[in-house]
Symmetry: C2
Subunit: 341 residues, 2 copies
C-alpha cells in the first residue's frame, strides 16, 4: 500500500503531519509519500528514528495556507503539495491521497487532477458523524452549496457505498435531512429529492429526518445539500464548544462544584474524546477518479495517524471501483427506464 | 393591557398555560383572556385563588393538537383557540395574541386572520437565541423554507426592530448566516442577499457570519432562510441533548465521578438554565397586521409566564406600529429609487 500525505496541510503542518505519518508507517509498514517543502519535511523526519520505514519525500515548493482563497491559490500555485501529491495517485505511483489541509483547495485540486467519474453529477464531501449509537455518514458537508434533487439521490447511493466501506454497515438506511416530516416542511429541493429517492431501486431509503433523529442514529446515511450540511456540522461544533464553556464557567464560579469537577474529570475527558473522536480519521471526496480523503484542519499527530488508517481502509475496500460500478449500474437503469418509457 | 393566551396550545395545555396566566395576572394585573375549551379552562382556574384577577374565558371548542397537519386543521376547525383568539386581537378587544402551540398552525391562523402588512414580502418567524455574550435575534426560524434574497433583506430591517424592542439593542448589527466568508462559500440565495444588504441604507449590515461567530455573539440580528434557520435551531437543541447525555453516561459509569458530579450539580443546573432560558419568553411572527408571539411547545408554567411578559413588552414597545412605519419608509425609498433610475 502506498499512500500520499499532504505534509503541508492543516493547522499544525508539517510538525504533526510528519509525526502522524511516522507513527503510521511504523505500525503498518505501508509506504507514506510525504509531499511538500522537502527541506522542512526532512527537518521534521530528522527528529524520529525512521530506520526501516518507507517515507519518501516529494518536493512541492508552493504551499497553500488555510487562509488563502482556495480556487485561485490552487490554480496559481501548481507546484503545491495537493496538486503534486494527487498527480502521484493519478499516474498510479500511489493508491490514495490524504490531506488535513484547506478543504476548498482540496476540492479544487481534486477536480482539476482527477475529474469526476463519468456519470457522476457532482462529487460529494462526506464525513462520519457521531450519534448516540455510534456513527453515521453525513454528506454533502460543503462541496456543493446549490444542488439539484438528482444529485442528492445519487449521493444517497455513493454515501451508502462509503458507509459500507468505512463503517461496515450492510445495506445502510438512507435519509434526507429536513426541518420536519409534517406537511409543509422541507424546502423544494428536499421535497423533490424525497420523491425521486422513494422511487429509487437498490437504495434503502427511509424518508426525511430531523436533526434530533440524526443524533439519535436513526439513519446510517444522511444526505443534505452542501450548504445545509456544512452549517449543520459547524453548528454542532459551535454548540459543543458553547456548552462546555458555559459548564466550565458555572463550575469555576463555585468552590464545591470545582472540587466535584476534579473528581469527575475523567468522565469529562471521556465525553470529550467521544465527541472529538480522533479515530474518526477522515472524510472523503467521493465521485472523482481518484481516492481523496480529508481530515480535520486541527488534526494533530494521532488524528493524522487515523486519517491515514481510514485512507488505507478505503483503498482495501476498493471504494473507487465500487463507486464506478455503482454509477455504471445507475446509468444502465436510467437507460432502461428511457427504453421503457 | 389585554393579552390573549391560547390556553390549549403546547404539550402541557391547559394545565401549565392556565397556571402561567394566573401567575402573570397576579404579578401585573393585566387582563389575560384565556381562549379554548371553556369547561376545562374553568376547571384549571378553579385550582387557584383568582380573586381580583381579570382572567376572562372565551370558549373555542375545537382543539388543534401538536400532531395535526396545521394548515388543514386550522381551516377545518374554525372554532379553534388560535383563530378565535386572534380574532379578538383583530377586532381590537385585545392587544396581542400569545401561544405556545403548534407553530405551523399559528403561522396558518396568523396569516388567515391578520394578513400581511401591505408591502411585507413574507412574515418572518423570529426567536431570541443564546450566545456567549447574551442573546441575539435569529430568523427566519421556520416560516418560509424557500426564500428570495429581497425577503432576507426586508427581514434584516424587521428583525432589527424586534431586537430593539425585545432585547434593548440600539442600532443592532445585522449579519447573514452562511457556511463561510471565503470565496465560493454561501449559496446563491446568500450571495444575492449579501449584495442587496450591503446597498441598504438605514441597516447596520456587517456581512456574513458562520455558526461559530453566531455563538460568539458577533451579531445582534442573524438572518437565514427558514429552512436553514429551523435546522440550525433544531441542531443546536439536538447537540445540547446529545452532549449532556454523553456526559451523564460517562459520569454514571465512574463511582468517583458520580460523587464529584453530586458536588458540581448546582453548576450543571445553572448551565442548563442558561441554555434552556425560561426568561427568553417567546419569539414572534413579524410582518402581520397583529401582534402574534410564539413560545416553546414544551413550555411549563414559568415559560408561559415569560412568554406573556415578552408579549406585553412588545405591546409596550408598539412594535406593530414601528413595523408599519419601517415598511412604509422602505417602500418610499424604493419608489424614490425608481424615480431616480
Amino acid at each position: 500500500m502506498k499512500l500520499v500525505l499532504d505534509a503541508m496541510g492543516g493547522d499544525y503542518a508539517p510538525l504533526e503531519t510528519v509525526a502522524g505519518a511516522v507513527d503510521y508507517a511504523h505500525d503498518t509498514q505501508h509506504t507514506i509519500i510525504l509531499v511538500g517543502k522537502a527541506d522542512t519535511i526532512y527537518e521534521e523526519l530528522g527528529k524520529y528514528n525512521t530506520a526501516g520505514l518507507d517515507l519518501p519525500v516529494i518536493d512541492a515548493p508552493e504551499v497553500i495556507s488555510m487562509e488563502e482563497r482556495p480556487a485561485m491559490a490552487v490554480r496559481r500555485k501548481k507546484k503545491n503539495s495537493m496538486v503534486v501529491g494527487m498527480r502521484l495517485v493519478r499516474t498510479g505511483e500511489a493508491d490514495a491521497f490524504c490531506s488535513v489541509g484547506n478543504t476548498g483547495a482540496i476540492l479544487t485540486a481534486g477536480h482539476m487532477v482527477f475529474r469526476r467519474i463519468r456519470g457522476v453529477h457532482r462529487a460529494v464531501l462526506t464525513t462520519p458523524f457521531p450519534n448516540f449509537r455510534g456513527h453515521h455518514v453525513f454528506g454533502d458537508v460543503g462541496a456543493n452549496t446549490d444542488c439539484r434533487p438528482e444529485w442528492l439521490v445519487q449521493w444517497g447511493h455513493l454515501l451508502s457505498i462509503f458507509a459500507e466501506a468505512r463503517l461496515n454497515i450492510h445495506n445502510p438506511r438512507v435519509a434526507l435531512l429536513s426541518n420536519g416530516e409534517e406537511e409543509g416542511k422541507g424546502n423544494e429541493l428536499i421535497k423533490n429529492a424525497q420523491e425521486l429517492m422513494a422511487q429509487e431501486l437498490d437504495l434503502n431509503y427511509m424518508g426525511v429526518i430531523e436533526p434530533k433523529e440524526m443524533f439519535e442514529g436513526a439513519a446510517d446515511v444522511v444526505v443534505a445539500d452542501g450548504f445545509t450540511g456544512n452549517i449543520t456540522v459547524k453548528t454542532s461544533e459551535a454548540v459543543a464548544r458553547y456548552l462546555m464553556t458555559i459548564l466550565k464557567e458555572e463550575i469555576m464560579s463555585r468552590p464545591l462544584a470545582k472540587a466535584g469537577a476534579l473528581l469527575s474529570k475523567p468522565a469529562f475527558n471521556a465525553a470529550s474524546e467521544r465527541l472529538d473522536d480522533k479515530t474518526y480519521g477522515a472524510g472523503m471526496l467521493l465521485g472523482l477518479n481518484g481516492l481523496v480523503t480529508i481530515g480535520h484542519g486541527r488534526a494533530k499527530r494521532d488524528s493524522v495517524y487515523y486519517a491515514l488508517k481510514t485512507t488505507a481502509r478505503l483503498v482495501e475496500a476498493d471504494i473507487l471501483q465500487k463507486t464506478r460500478l455503482k454509477i455504471e449500474s445507475l446509468l444502465k437503469t436510467q437507460r432502461n427506464r428511457g427504453v421503457d418509457a
